[in-house]
Symmetry: D2
Subunit: 385 residues, 4 copies
Amino acid sequence: MKKINVAMVGGGFMGKTHSHAWKNAVHFFDLDVQPVMKVICDNNKKTAQQYADNWGWAEIETDWQTLTTRKDIDIIDICVPTYLHHEIAVAAARAGKHIFCEKPIALSAAQAQAMYEAAEASGIVHYLNHNYRRCPAVRLARQLIEEGKIGRIFHWRGAYLQDWIVNPDFPLVWQLQRQYAGAGPHFDLNSHSVDLARYLVGDISRVTAMTSNFITERSVAEAGGPTAFSAKTSRKSTGKVTVEDAAFMVVQFENGALGSFEASRFAPGRKNYNYFEIYGSKGSCAFNFERMNELQVFSRDDPANTQGFRTILATESVHPYMAAWWPPGHIIGYEHEFHHAVVDFLRAIATGGSIEPNFYDGMKAMQVLEGALESAETGKRVTLA
Amino acid sequence: MKKINVAMVGGGFMGKTHSHAWKNAVHFFDLDVQPVMKVICDNNKKTAQQYADNWGWAEIETDWQTLTTRKDIDIIDICVPTYLHHEIAVAAARAGKHIFCEKPIALSAAQAQAMYEAAEASGIVHYLNHNYRRCPAVRLARQLIEEGKIGRIFHWRGAYLQDWIVNPDFPLVWQLQRQYAGAGPHFDLNSHSVDLARYLVGDISRVTAMTSNFITERSVAEAGGPTAFSAKTSRKSTGKVTVEDAAFMVVQFENGALGSFEASRFAPGRKNYNYFEIYGSKGSCAFNFERMNELQVFSRDDPANTQGFRTILATESVHPYMAAWWPPGHIIGYEHEFHHAVVDFLRAIATGGSIEPNFYDGMKAMQVLEGALESAETGKRVTLA
Amino acid sequence: MKKINVAMVGGGFMGKTHSHAWKNAVHFFDLDVQPVMKVICDNNKKTAQQYADNWGWAEIETDWQTLTTRKDIDIIDICVPTYLHHEIAVAAARAGKHIFCEKPIALSAAQAQAMYEAAEASGIVHYLNHNYRRCPAVRLARQLIEEGKIGRIFHWRGAYLQDWIVNPDFPLVWQLQRQYAGAGPHFDLNSHSVDLARYLVGDISRVTAMTSNFITERSVAEAGGPTAFSAKTSRKSTGKVTVEDAAFMVVQFENGALGSFEASRFAPGRKNYNYFEIYGSKGSCAFNFERMNELQVFSRDDPANTQGFRTILATESVHPYMAAWWPPGHIIGYEHEFHHAVVDFLRAIATGGSIEPNFYDGMKAMQVLEGALESAETGKRVTLA
Amino acid sequence: MKKINVAMVGGGFMGKTHSHAWKNAVHFFDLDVQPVMKVICDNNKKTAQQYADNWGWAEIETDWQTLTTRKDIDIIDICVPTYLHHEIAVAAARAGKHIFCEKPIALSAAQAQAMYEAAEASGIVHYLNHNYRRCPAVRLARQLIEEGKIGRIFHWRGAYLQDWIVNPDFPLVWQLQRQYAGAGPHFDLNSHSVDLARYLVGDISRVTAMTSNFITERSVAEAGGPTAFSAKTSRKSTGKVTVEDAAFMVVQFENGALGSFEASRFAPGRKNYNYFEIYGSKGSCAFNFERMNELQVFSRDDPANTQGFRTILATESVHPYMAAWWPPGHIIGYEHEFHHAVVDFLRAIATGGSIEPNFYDGMKAMQVLEGALESAETGKRVTLA
């Protein structure tokens, strides 16, 4: 089996899911290429070494730029905070490396566009890791839509709710600082929802939005806490939260559907509540990541006395990706989406094809998100180009 | 027991729930006054007679204006299509009749304000029948908020979804015509949601909104079909739908909470899905009318390892109104809300007090709804006075 | 409309639901006969008078035997504790009165058989009020089974769980004394489940069972507490619980299905959890009374990738009984089952027909329940005749 | 880090989950010993080689007996059909190998006892893989019980339902033949439930049971189909199903609780529905493996108006095992239980301790299961020694 060398940049939480997927995807899926965990790169050498020791990355680097010059690297996996995506991705693309990039794509639509153009210019395979597209239940929703089971779509209702910063004592991590994260849940969470909406409903043409801040000042993280590639911490004992705490949008899709997006980190009890409902002329479906193995589907074609939302446990071998895993009813978890992403990414490389979502999708979603921020600021509805 | 005479105007679907409540509330609740079903008024004499025969209304009238001149009428119950509310309510108020009025309050905030001023000027008890406030689970939510169990409120997420006009063959009933209904689900459904949001969260200060139409032309209802007080049907075989099919809003509350409202009649599988979630600094709650006996409550005060949304079956004798009904776990239905409304309305009259929601609440909600329509039209966020 | 005179014996909780149904069924359903609330009978005159005053029963009696001799009584509604059913029913039947009888039918299968034989001998309409058969969602389950949607039935899994006597301070009410109740939850709750199982699956041929007691001594109810027709209270400060607290059975049905029944009053959190699941060769269904408007249905005929349990909200006009009530999604409650029972009972009288469940069904179910008690006592499986 | 050599016997579905866990547990958990995937043994050499190639087992063997003589093997992982467990386990124990054994333990309680005695005699660490004990939500249930949150236990209600053989065309696999499997779902599924019940409630003292067969003859599997260590297929085109299709039990626990167990492979719509409810004097809990990240908990200590079952999403770092995985709300799946088992097993070896469930637990559960089969056959309740 042909081998293909991977270098991963960044060693935080996401590096764990990525390492796991690079290591194990090949055990469950038939692949024509085998990923080799060649280099882990983190500007904190100790972190890099820990990743190498624990996950079996063969070598460590502390300067990501060396990766672009090494001939033996085929794939660069970008796992660092958002503000670094643009620079690394553009350099990697120019160096002809395939790119597996964490979301959100970048700090702005302009950065995203530059990434997209660089990637296309060099002909590499570029992937943006909106992992939820590869949840089997979500992919099933897509199949039903493609088969016409939902019909003409009237509504998208998306919400992505978490509660990890409700406590005022939670510190000022990089995700709460605009220079590193670009925005708050609007980029972190709504970016996922917009990606799913584009995947399942289509492009968005108009947006109106409002945002809120509930806690504006937080203690700075302890010294030494931030991992490499993350934000520098202030020396003051508290710092200003420079991103929104919640962002709600109403949109119109190009196909006429009316939609909503609601992202918040101030929803106690919602842990990773990535939720959507889609309503169409033939039926409806609903998804909640916290029960990610299930899809709710309603069909107006069912007999009049037995219509109702079905809870489909998407763990049958006929469901997307599931033949590779366990028997029906033996559910899978969050990390499996990353395995699926690695599989599809490697297959795209092997066949000379492409994969979605990619930097184009990231750019399009970022245009919507920027439009929403503009609307929130100006008080005016924004029409997207 | 003191008797108090009721005259109900209108004999449609709502007349059924009202008649049932006037007749039976007294059997379940201790009341100091006993309502007497004195007059049913409908401009269609046959309809009026049917109501009298079936429900025991003692007399019939066909002209509502006579009611305002009759000395023996204490309460006028307004159960007619929206466009007639203003005229009847103002006249009834001036005649010193207590008013039990169906929602939405009127065609406009100006009409609502006139109703409110007339009612206050004459010192009558006025009630606007947003029945969901008197669902025991909803009232429980209010109690928890008052007790501080939810804390500072961050979010309201309301949706009111139905699917009764998804079929393009559904005819052009009065609810789909602006001159009779004022607006579509925005007035019909969002009015309920805004009333609940004001009850549970507080007043709204800013709103941005978008609306959509999915089916713009429908067949006119069959000749003879419309009941009295309903719209005249056109002679053409089809007519134009002059109200929106869906209306989505994002709002900011005066207390800083960020909220959303989504009303649609194009949500297959949702029958009377009056749904809300409230998130606060101490906890959260969620309600779905289709499971109206339940309230979901999350508390951040629970031990860390046993936090989770509780499904409270609000059928215990400690829950609002429930001591009057059945043992725990023996659930109640839609109509019971109307019984509770009648009980509280009669008690307000007996004690010389007032009841909420009333015409003031209707006026305030209508200002929000009108602001949203303005926003949808102009593309600009609207700040409420 | 022909009038038919009702006399109700007993003025406890059940008298409330019955009075409500006798009073209101006629307002919602087309009936050829109109029930007249003629006599309320309770050996406590004050209770009887309260019922007459509150519910409009025209006259009171304190001796049920006078009812059997009055020519102007057509129906006797038996609403008293179990130990009185047999005597009243046999007398009523012999007097040619139609009988509407609360469940469980009696203290023993022998009593039930005598009731059945007396009723049949006199040609009256006899009804045993296992109200859950007339829940629209349950009746829908029956329709699906009759239409072959479930196929050959493999399993019945029934549970009826409550928690009202978990508190050791709860007093020794008549339901906890064998001489008045016959048995504990086995008669009170399993009788409902066995009735539903017979309705939906068929007759039972073999049974094995075990019972348990968790609290064996309780305080006697306060003096004066028990209403008429209820048990005499002991003078001692505590008394012995003489019925089981929980009864679990495994059964085989005549059609080969393997089933289970689990009744308990010691299940904290379950208020009136009358639950069943049915599994067959074509599909499955599940019901929980605490969400009585819903039926869960699974069909093996659905496409392989969209199979799942549907939550059918049985509130459409196509669902049994629902056309008489509210629009879709506007749910009904516990008491509506009693209205449906009154309607079907009156129609049986009007047409000279019969109604199920009746004393035959009560007798058959009681044979199963007695067999289970025998099994619990002897440790041997019991084959029913 | 000290290395410890593992040899796995058997290469079917379970070999996949075991291989995955041996390979990855070390990446997520801090361990003092590192498992080395030394030998895969299957009597079908091709299967063994495939496992070696795919999962990185270093060597292959085709005769399990050689493993017991190899000095370089520390752990034998028994992943073969049930009928082979006893022989391999006894030999492995005598050879001083630690044993990680799939469930059900063996064909009989006598075999299980022999395994237990051999294991104890040699002082090895023995583990029986009832994986559900290591589901975080299940372990949370145990913690709550230990902390007294459930109080005195009244009831266990267990069900384990699947539907994979409802189709009559499903072939006669080894699981349907008594000589290979010992029994049907009673051993396969009830063994899991009994293990959980013993873990959470305690030992069982009395049992009564019934079983059923719905399809008695099935086609034999295609030639060449069965993997090594599985049953020989008959040459006839059909063969007799020699195990039950469903087994229902009622039991009494030593602590007085009344319980039920219902196992079936004929429950359409239930895929891996390993379900239980526990009711006690202080509260209740409920678990459904198909939503394995959730535990339902009811507490009588909650305020009267806010009691209700909580849905605890057991994905917080305070929940058992979860600190090793993902952030809250990012759920885990079936396979993670195997990782947890490997971790605890290795820790037991490292510390010279033991682990539960082990062969003692397997023996105790098998005594209950055998008692139930005796009861089903004789029609008599069986008291366990």
